[in-house]
Symmetry: D2
Subunit: 143 residues, 4 copies
């Protein structure tokens, strides 16, 4: 499967009074890595929304295990790849590293959706578009 690496320089303001990265920022970087991975594969979620009404990527499940800390000035990398497909979900594995040191192992499970015509403020899941899956995987679909 396609792998993607997104570099981040940890900012002073990304760190908390313990002088280490404030943990919600790791999820900002997960999310940005996902968006950049899609963009780098030529998948434009704004265009998709405008042309088809499809909403790419609501998150349904997320998690992370923290193995080592990072601080301001550190150069770190988010290593991302889609590691599992079902008909209606994709699971992206993210690993954050500083050199050879693994700092964080995590994942995001995302879906595709449309606005629900019966409840304008809600969305309904839809199957993952074939052309999207094709960009990131040649694997068969687990259902």
């Amino acid at each position: 499967m396609r792998r993607f690496v997104w570099p981040v320089t940890v900012g002073f303001g990304d760190c908390d009074p313990a002088n280490i990265v404030y943990y919600p920022n790791f999820f900002r970087w997960f999310d940005q890595a996902t968006h950049q991975m899609w963009r780098s594969a030529g998948y434009d979620i704004a265009q998709l929304r405008q042309q088809t009404g499809l909403i790419a990527g609501p998150l349904v499940d997320v998690g992370a295990t923290f193995r080592a800390t990072a601080t301001h000035g550190d150069l770190i990398e988010v290593h991302s790849q889609v590691e599992e497909w079902t008909a209606r979900t994709l699971r992206i594995a993210h690993q954050i590293r500083r050199g050879d040191t693994v700092l964080v192992d995590g994942f995001e499970v995302r879906i595709f959706a449309r606005p629900d015509p019966d409840h304008p403020a809600r969305i309904k899941t839809v199957p993952i578009p074939e052309n999207f899956r094709a960009l990131f995987s040649s694997e068969p679909v687990a259902d």
Copy 2:
């Protein structure tokens, strides 16, 4: 003029390695105070946008002077009021206090706008709606 007070409990994650509020967060609280002030006056910017196409509130100018620091656990207040109107701008004064101690003095200058029909990605300023100004001031307009 109408005054508005918005309370904030400073979070651990709002603070930086110097153990004080990371300064961009004061602007998050300015912005939230502005939105809550409008909402508390019955002005719903989402509804406005949907019904009239008007965009309430793009920021054109902002500033702050920092007089004292705050840290996690502190209860602080944003005191906000519109202090100046022109035909096309409003200037909101924000003062952040912890008890009697002034922490920050700042301001935001905001406009009203519409999408520019000739350049979809741009906006054009419009005069401040009369009914909006009426909610916050009985003062004559400086132009």
Copy 3:
């Protein structure tokens, strides 16, 4: 066990271009609920650090499942409680609700630690202090 409720008003800036809460903010609110829960029980982590060198609360594992969205102006609540103790970890369950609607179910696993004398930039876990556990639970310790 002691339950704790922390109210949050969702800000405009807490939301993303999909007009819903940007998900890393839910973790900011988890973290803030944890800190406020400790503070409300009279446990001052800054004082603890200063007096004993103990570091309260490094995160080792975190996760969340997203069930419904929230947007700016929503009043939501974080409901938190310690749901599991081991000798060296505590697991805090967080549920975020808007009225009766569950938005997010999540958890944090945290530890207590000391600076590692052999590696100044690292920390070593220590057993959870008895007096800390007593504040939040009368349950026996699972090991």
Copy 4:
């Protein structure tokens, strides 16, 4: 004077429901540009603090004028330089650009300080260290 350029890719989560950068993030980028500028000149504020007790950089005044918007996926640059020195302050000009388009013009005024021996929670300003000024300027000091 030494100029410094810091590139930023605008993230999805850096944008608000209006689909443009949420303005406090521009200050995060100002702050990060300042820290990276210092670091790139070989000035390590953590080391300074540890070796001399000096605190590099509390902010006393900040402002910005917003000229054009940016959205997720945009590659932008923060152009920074110290534009004014007094005995006890430095003023850093920041301009944020996307290609040739100026998005934001702003500034930060910062000081150097020491913990106040009479009031442990406060700080006292000190003159800007000569070696620091030398790194960024050959200009005479305005007082």
